[in-house]
């Protein structure tokens, strides 16, 4: 063993004292939580040591976050990473720490990242970019915040995985596109319907009217030259063409309801009911019918359309009369019955319920909702004239007015139709 001189011993003591002071400083720094990690350089290159210190609670917290969290030193080296970030880039945690963060940024986005890094040393910075994992790109948002600790400054980076969000965005874009296409199809189909309405209104009705005219000619003028059977045929032709005329007009009315008519005029329902009863006075007298009308409310709506609803209902009540008794038709304002409606309304006073009831032939209650379908007729056409569109029109109008139409009936006893309309139309 070498003998050292006194001077050499003193030097050695000073060197050891300095090392001890440095070690004490480091210990102090670790104790006060100023240091997260140590990079120790020796002949085998830099190696990194992280510390279990007093901020363990925060580290646990950061470990549990669903976001990736890393700390970068001034060179952009990752000096701390939570395991979520390692999972995100699909690398073992030890292989993440000690690497440059830029190693995980997609090459195309490097200029963006470097710019962000520069800005982050001045102020907090955020940006979306893409990272590279094993063999895929990951959309993320980076949020960089400067951390100043005594002499040293570092950057904390929160990495939010946007994969799901981007997937949802892409899905939303695709759905929007689908919706646009559907909407275009709808516009086209509405256009077709209007074309049809126009064709039905003229091109179909013109030849039909001629059939009516000429069969009427035969009926009136040629009757003495026709055999009894031929007369029956001519009658049938005439009646059927009448029927077809009604059908065409009803289809037209129905198809035109899609148009946006104003619904905001105050309509006194009793007034329109009285008008309709005037129109029907001949038929009422002929059938010896009694019609009772109570006071009715005033609602906001389209007068012509609401008139059509009551016209169709009253017309039905006068049509489907029982052969055994004189028709009695009652048109009344009734209290709303939430149980019967199957819905609860916030404020009954905002709605008006009008019933049109008769003592006619009625129908089986199982048909109570299907009778509002287009072309639904429950009775043989020969017995009761009708297009099967009247109630469908009524339903469409009531629904356009944000209301409800209901039917109940007993075979042989009569039917009751309820119309529930809001007093005011929603703005």
């Amino acid at each position: 063993m070498n003998k050292l001189s006194d001077a050499e011993l003193i030097d050695e003591i000073d060197r050891l004292r300095a090392q001890l002071a440095e070690a004490n400083d480091t210990l102090e720094a670790i104790r006060t939580g100023q240091i997260d990690a140590l990079v120790v350089s020796d002949h085998s290159g830099p190696s990194l040591f992280t510390l279990n210190s007093a901020d363990r609670a925060y580290r646990l917290f950061i470990e549990q976050m669903s976001e990736g969290a890393v700390t970068l030193n001034s060179d952009g080296l990752i000096i701390y990473s939570n395991s979520q970030f390692a999972r995100l880039v699909q690398r073992p945690l030890p292989q993440v720490m000690g690497n440059y963060f830029s190693d995980f940024v997609l090459d195309e986005d490097l200029p963006l990242f470097n710019g962000l890094l520069l800005r982050a040393w001045e102020t907090n910075a955020k940006s979306e970019m893409r990272l590279k994992a094993e063999n895929k790109k990951i959309d993320v948002q980076l949020s960089l915040n400067m951390l100043e600790m005594d002499e040293d400054t570092s950057l904390s980076v929160i990495i939010t995985d946007l994969t799901q969000q981007k997937d949802i965005e892409r899905e939303l874009t695709a759905k929007n596109e689908q919706l646009r296409n559907l909407n275009n199809a709808l516009i086209a189909s509405n256009h077709d319907l209007q074309q049809f309405a126009s064709v039905a209104s003229h091109d179909l009705q013109e030849p039909l009217r001629k059939i009516q005219v000429f069969s009427k000619f035969l009926k009136d003028k040629g009757s003495d030259q026709l055999s009894e059977t031929s007369k029956v045929y001519v009658d049938k032709i005439f009646n059927l063409s009448q029927r077809m005329k009604i059908l065409i007009v009803d289809i037209l009315t129905y198809s035109k309801l899609s148009a946006n008519d104003a619904l905001t005029a105050p309509v006194y329902l009793k007034e329109i009911v009285n008008e309709i009863l005037d129109d029907f006075d001949l038929r009422i007298a002929e059938k010896n019918a009694r019609v009772e009308v109570s006071d009715l409310c005033t609602v906001e709506g389209n007068r012509g359309q609401l008139r059509q609803v009551f016209f169709n209902l009253i017309s039905n009540a006068l049509k489907f009369v029982s052969p055994d008794r004189s028709p009695v038709i009652a048109i009344r304002m009734k209290k709303l019955d939430p149980v019967e409606l199957g819905v609860s309304l916030d404020d009954h006073s905002q709605y008006c319920r009008v019933t049109v009831s008769d003592n006619g032939i009625g129908f089986e209650d199982t048909y109570a909702s299907s009778i509002f379908s287009l072309f639904e007729t429950l009775n043989p056409k020969t017995a009761y004239e009708g297009s099967g569109i009247g109630l469908a029109i009524a339903k469409k109008i009531v629904e356009k007015h944000h209301g409800l139409i209901l039917a109940k009936s007993k075979v042989g006893e009569g039917s009751e139709f309820s119309i529930i309309l809001p007093i005011k139309q929603p703005a």
């Binding site: 003229h202 013109e206 009217r209 009516q212 009427k216 012509g304």
Partner: protein
């Protein structure tokens, strides 16, 4: 209604409908049917060739759906022309809805009527038309 026989002109492209006018109205002594014309353009020509205003028709019955110049277009021409504006003009059509009625009234039609299908209907329509002819 004055005692003079009213000159009525039908503007109609459909030959059956022109025929029906003759069939249903030729017996009437209160009207004189002028030779019908097939559309608005022909009517304009016809009217221009009448030199004396006394020979102008008392009533013009217009079909709505016609080629070249339909009922509404013809109405527009008639009502904007000083010589013809005072002649009562009516529209009759296979299908009349509220829109057609309002449009034609706005354009100055005295009446808008559905095309009838029988003798009674035709007589009633003409009686109504003549109410507005002085």
């Amino acid at each position: 209604m004055s005692a003079t026989v009213k000159k009525v002109i039908l503007v109609e492209d459909d030959s059956d409908d022109r025929e029906l006018f003759l069939t249903f109205f030729s017996h009437r002594t209160d009207i004189h049917l002028l030779p019908p014309v097939a559309n608005g353009l022909e009517l304009v020509d016809y009217l221009k060739n009448i030199t004396s205003d006394d020979d102008l028709p008392h009533l013009i019955v217009l079909d709505q759906n016609m080629p070249k110049m339909n009922g509404k277009q013809t109405l527009t021409f008639l009502k904007s022309n000083e010589r013809y504006a005072q002649i009562p003009a009516v529209i009759y059509s296979t299908y009349t809805d509220a829109t057609l009625v309002i449009d034609c009234k706005n354009l100055g039609a005295e009446m808008v009527s559905n095309k009838p299908i029988d003798h009674e209907g035709y007589q009633k329509m003409m009686d109504d038309f003549l109410q507005i002819v002085n």
